[in-house]
């Protein structure tokens, strides 16, 4: 594990079934902030990548049932994935010390996404989420998670 590293949540992406990014939050960004176009590229790339990864997993699957992506790990970060039967796709990137976030993603979906977005009468399904309540409450909750450290890592 990294020297001086601590638990950290980096970013959250939410994609709808057709692959559009309907929400993005980030914390502790150390890379330079991209402009809108680069952002869009990043989202497209992420959506396409996750989709391809899922297809790939199913192709290589040793069992007949549909396998699902849980997370992947690089030497720098971990990406946790949660997809619902309705095609909502949540991906959260964290540092390597964070254990499985499946429960948290499930909670995120039911306590925040369903309550503040799906149940919002002003929200059109599959569009970008603009509800400030969702963002605020999500942000507050993320910051309280044990996986979220208050100090940025020493790099």
């Amino acid at each position: 594990s990294t020297v001086g590293g601590c638990r950290m949540i980096y970013a959250l992406y939410i994609f709808n079934r057709t692959g559009s990014c309907i929400h993005f939050s980030e914390w502790h960004r150390t890379r330079p902030v991209p402009n809108a176009e680069q952002r869009d590229q990043e989202f497209k790339l992420m959506a396409g990548f996750l989709y391809s990864l899922k297809q790939f997993i199913t192709t290589l699957s040793t069992k007949k049932e549909n396998d699902s992506l849980i997370c992947y790990k690089t030497n720098k970060y971990k990406l946790h994935y949660y997809e619902t039967a309705t095609g909502q796709r949540l991906a959260i990137t964290t540092d390597l010390t964070v254990p499985d976030m499946r429960d948290e993603l499930q909670k995120l979906y039911s306590a925040f996404f369903v309550e503040y977005v799906i149940k919002d009468p002003l929200y059109t399904p599959n569009t970008v989420i603009s509800n400030p309540l969702f963002k605020e409450n999500l942000d507050k909750w993320i910051k309280k998670l044990p996986a979220y450290a208050t100090q940025p890592p020493y790099s």
């Binding site: 079934r17 619902t84 309705t86 095609g87 039911s110 799906i118 149940k119 399904p125």
Partner: protein, 196 residues
């Protein structure tokens, strides 16, 4: 019952009933009469606005239900621990025992399976929407609870089953029971347009 239906055994149905009860406990509830009266007021207003055109109101209830259904399915998935439906035949008991129970407080029975498994009927012995309701003769063409039709269509579409749903019988019209017929039109494939 056709052969494939034996996949759902009595034990599995009992599990679904339990899940339905648990889900029912978890959701926020409102006063049943308030619910019934509000729905009645909605239908009455729609009838007034359309000058008693039952077909138009049926249509409107259907589309209101559809808009509810596309959102309701997410809450259903989040709050009930019902397993994902791997095929269309699974949806029947899940809707009847968990879905209806969770949102209407009552369960339905599944009957009338078509041989190819692409059609089934949901029978409602009790329908909270039509408590205290009497349908006058001039509105005999109205499917009073048609919102349910839209909800089923909208919800199933979000999990990739495009279905047709309609009332076959309604106790409110004097039939001996209330029956919703659900027919699979197609299994949708993921739209890959944004993944290029």
């Amino acid at each position: 019952q056709p052969e494939f239906f034996s996949v759902r055994t009595m034990a599995q149905t009992k599990t679904l009933i339990r899940q339905g009860d648990r889900a029912f406990e978890k959701v926020d509830k409102i006063n049943a009469e308030l619910f019934t009266m509000s729905y009645g007021a909605l239908v009455t207003q729609l009838l007034k606005d359309s000058n008693g055109d039952c077909d138009a109101v049926n249509q409107q209830l259907d589309s209101i239900g559809y808009k509810i259904g596309v959102r309701l399915i997410d809450e259903f998935i989040a709050k009930s621990s019902a397993p994902a439906c791997r095929n269309f035949t699974d949806t029947a008991e899940v809707i009847a025992k968990v879905g209806f129970r969770m949102f209407l407080g009552v369960t339905a029975t599944v009957q009338g399976w078509q041989e190819d498994g692409r059609q089934y009927s949901l029978i409602l012995d009790e329908n909270p929407l039509n408590q205290f309701v009497e349908l006058p003769e001039k509105y005999k063409g109205l499917w009073y609870s048609n919102v349910l039709v839209g909800v089923v269509k909208g919800a199933l579409e979000q999990v990739m089953f495009k279905v047709d749903c309609k009332f076959e019988r309604d106790a409110l019209r004097g039939d001996d029971s209330t029956e919703l017929k659900v027919t699979l039109q197609e299994v949708l494939r993921e739209n890959m347009e944004n993944f290029d």
